[in-house]
Amino acid sequence: MSTRKIDIEEVNGVTIARFTDKKILDESNIQIIGNQLFSLIDDDHRQKVVLDFSNVEYLSSAALGKLITLDKKVKAAQGELRLCAIRKDILEVFKITRLDKLFKIMETRDKALDKF
């Protein structure tokens, strides 16, 4: 049995997935998080997804890899993925890797939900 690593909320047809862990590190942990995220698309067929990073203090490149795979899955399902509430240090990771160009990153959850 694996612990729930994301809290799911539905707002006006948009799925908000909030990470519950402070640290998205460690391979086995990231594998579980990845599977739970992929299930939103593969099993639940959700198309509009917001990832809420407000709890997240650390994340590694392996976690970025899962986000890229999730983004591909969402796009393949004709959906859209938005990221929000990312703290400064982590935003720097997105900028250093130029993934801020790949993902739609919004400052707050409200902004991510706007006109979705």
Binding site: E27, S61, K72
Partner: protein, 149 residues
């Protein structure tokens, strides 16, 4: 100058090829840096670089082989830290790792670890075989911090 400046903590451990064991060492090193009042941004960068280097050693170097070990040695003081991580794998040539920020590689799910280590540390140096990396970080002095005489 405080007493701690004269005490340089030096440690060396060998861990199995298991990322949970890597996390334990990571926590131990971060705790030491916290004791020395390293700033949040330094702590973030060092933890990230450590995570990337340890995962590289355990997963890509030793290929999670339970017969192989990872050696970690670190020296920490209030001015900076030096962390050496060595696996028992065949090694690799870091120059051959494709640039993850190139347009054609942006959507690749892996290959960003070394790039992040370089961005957050002052120096990362591999040995010729490519199975040992040295990470170095000079502590950032915060504006509010009193300078020692």
């Amino acid at each position: 100058m405080s007493a701690i400046d004269d005490q340089q903590a030096k440690f060396e451990v060998t861990i199995p090829s298991d990322t949970v064991a890597g996390q334990t060492i990571q926590d131990q090193i971060i705790r030491k840096l916290e004791e020395l009042a390293y700033g949040d941004h330094d702590l973030f960068g060092i933890r990230l670089a450590l995570e990337e280097a340890l995962v590289n050693a355990i997963k890509h170097g030793n290929r999670l082989d339970p017969q192989k070990f990872v050696r970690i040695a670190w020296q920490i003081d209030s001015n900076g830290c030096r962390i050496e991580i060595e696996d028992e794998g065949e090694g690799f040539n870091p120059v051959e790792v494709p640039d993850p920020t190139a347009d054609e590689n942006l959507e690749r799910p892996c290959g960003r670890g070394i790039h992040l280590m370089r961005a957050f540390m002052n120096a990362i140096v591999y040995n010729e075989r490519g199975n040992r990396v040295v990470l170095e970080k000079t502590r950032t002095i915060m504006e509010s911090e009193p300078t020692s005489e």
